[in-house]
Symmetry: C2
């Protein structure tokens, strides 16, 4: 069993020191409660609602110079915690909406958001690293960020590359069509994608309103069945979600029965575009 935390909190725009301190306090609490992996929200050091690229660049740093990465690595060394957190990454002339994976060895890996949402398209560069899977002390981890989760391709790539756990720093916002009183559609996406891949997943969303943009909380941890083992959390209040997940059972569970396995049953030979017009013309 691996104990996992989703750290739902409310970063303050343009207050990196304060946000880093908030993250360290909550990560410390997760470590004290026996967690081995903890996930923080998207862009949780800078905040999210940049006016333009220039403002985002001013709140970014390279991974090497990032005080957040340094502090998280120190906490990882002290506690054994593996941390997945969202931040603005500068790299040469590029700017990425990234998730770093930090463990006792330091920065273990980075994921750069592939699918940019709305005005992120005029602020960030599109991710250029695919969906890498990292071997960590606790297992094989990949990261996705927010709108990436609308692309089933991403979870599938993580599963096919052997991931045990998908970590999702996110800044989910309200979207049209949401049915009032029901969990956010985003939470169903996590459940569905975990289920069809036999993958565990943890999504850490933020709360609060930033420059007029509300966020919807509802962080959750699901196991390989797709069902939540913790959350969805509050839609408005910070919350530390903790649950135990069994990675080995997850991989074993993929043998649904004598014949079926969700990854081996894929029909790559048949996944080509065809239309009825061609077929019965």
């Amino acid at each position: 069993m691996t104990r996992i935390a989703a750290v739902q909190f409310e970063p303050q725009f343009g207050e990196p020191d304060q946000n880093l301190n908030s993250s360290l306090r909550l990560l410390g609490e997760a470590a004290n409660r026996g967690c081995e992996v903890a996930v923080l929200p998207e862009l949780c050091i800078s905040g999210y609602m940049f006016r333009d690229r220039q403002e985002a660049v001013a709140l970014s740093s390279t991974l090497e110079e990032s005080s957040a990465c340094r502090s998280w690595a120190r906490l990882a060394q002290d506690s054994g915690l593996t941390i997945v957190g969202g931040l603005t990454e500068r790299s040469g002339g590029a700017l990425y909406n990234s998730a770093v994976i930090v463990d006792a060895s330091g920065i273990r890996g980075v994921y750069r958001k592939l699918h940019l949402w709305d005005r992120e398209n005029v602020i960030f560069d599109r991710g250029d690293l695919g969906v890498p899977v990292f071997d960590t002390a606790v297992g094989r981890i990949c990261a996705l960020i927010c709108y990436d989760g609308w692309f089933p391709e991403t979870y599938r790539l993580g599963a096919l590359a052997g991931a045990d756990l998908v970590c999702i720093p996110t800044n989910w916002v309200p979207i049209p069509g949401q049915v009032a009183g029901m969990p956010a559609m985003a939470t169903y996406l996590v459940m569905a994608m975990a289920h069809v891949n036999g993958l565990s997943a943890v999504a850490a969303n933020r709360t609060g309103v930033e420059r007029g943009q509300p966020f919807v909380g509802q962080s959750l941890i699901v196991n390989y069945t797709g069902w939540p083992v913790a959350g969805p959390a509050s839609d408005s209040e910070p919350e530390l979600l903790i649950a135990d997940v069994d990675f080995a059972a997850g991989k074993a569970s993929r043998q649904w029965n004598e014949f079926n396995h969700p990854l081996r049953d894929r029909r790559d030979d048949a996944y080509t575009l065809t239309t009825g017009l061609e077929q019965r013309a």
Copy 2:
């Protein structure tokens, strides 16, 4: 707006005439209530729990010889209804778990299940037609059958080929991990896949217990938001679900905002397998 029906009923094993009559009665009711498209369950003429391939062959026919196809086509001519129904299709020496699309012009198309579940693997041949999309009087339709829905690739192919509606004849059964008192995970999969593709979908499941195998009903119709507009239906009783869906609004809805469109935002360039070991070695 297009009025759609999911015909949830309880086929009797090995009673094709009785099952066809049941389907015609319910399709007639759907037509009388103004429906333009109606979906029937998987293998709804023969039943599902074949002992072996030989028994399935005995209950199969070619599409040309199928009395079900003939009767559905007659009803389509009389009513204008487009019908999507699951049946055992023999073709040369092959046997498929198929869905036929029948309209006033006759058999408009056929889909052959790509992903066979459990003992279907010793009974049927695997589908060989990809995910075709058919132009019908009411719009562009594709079909998927039951376990196909565990493969997000299938919905994506339908969406990319221009489908307005995914029709899903199914025989959903209880699966491990299901949380008691919650809708079947299968219903969340339909919601999630419709949502991420901006596609409407209708799943028609059967009810009852056949040779010891229970089925879970819960047919549903979802629009392009992913939220149900009808259902989930009863988990045990026959039910005719009807709802209106706006295909044009569905396609327009895909322009989420100035920058985003779920099909155009795909990162084919990035959907290759990479691992962190390669990246940071």
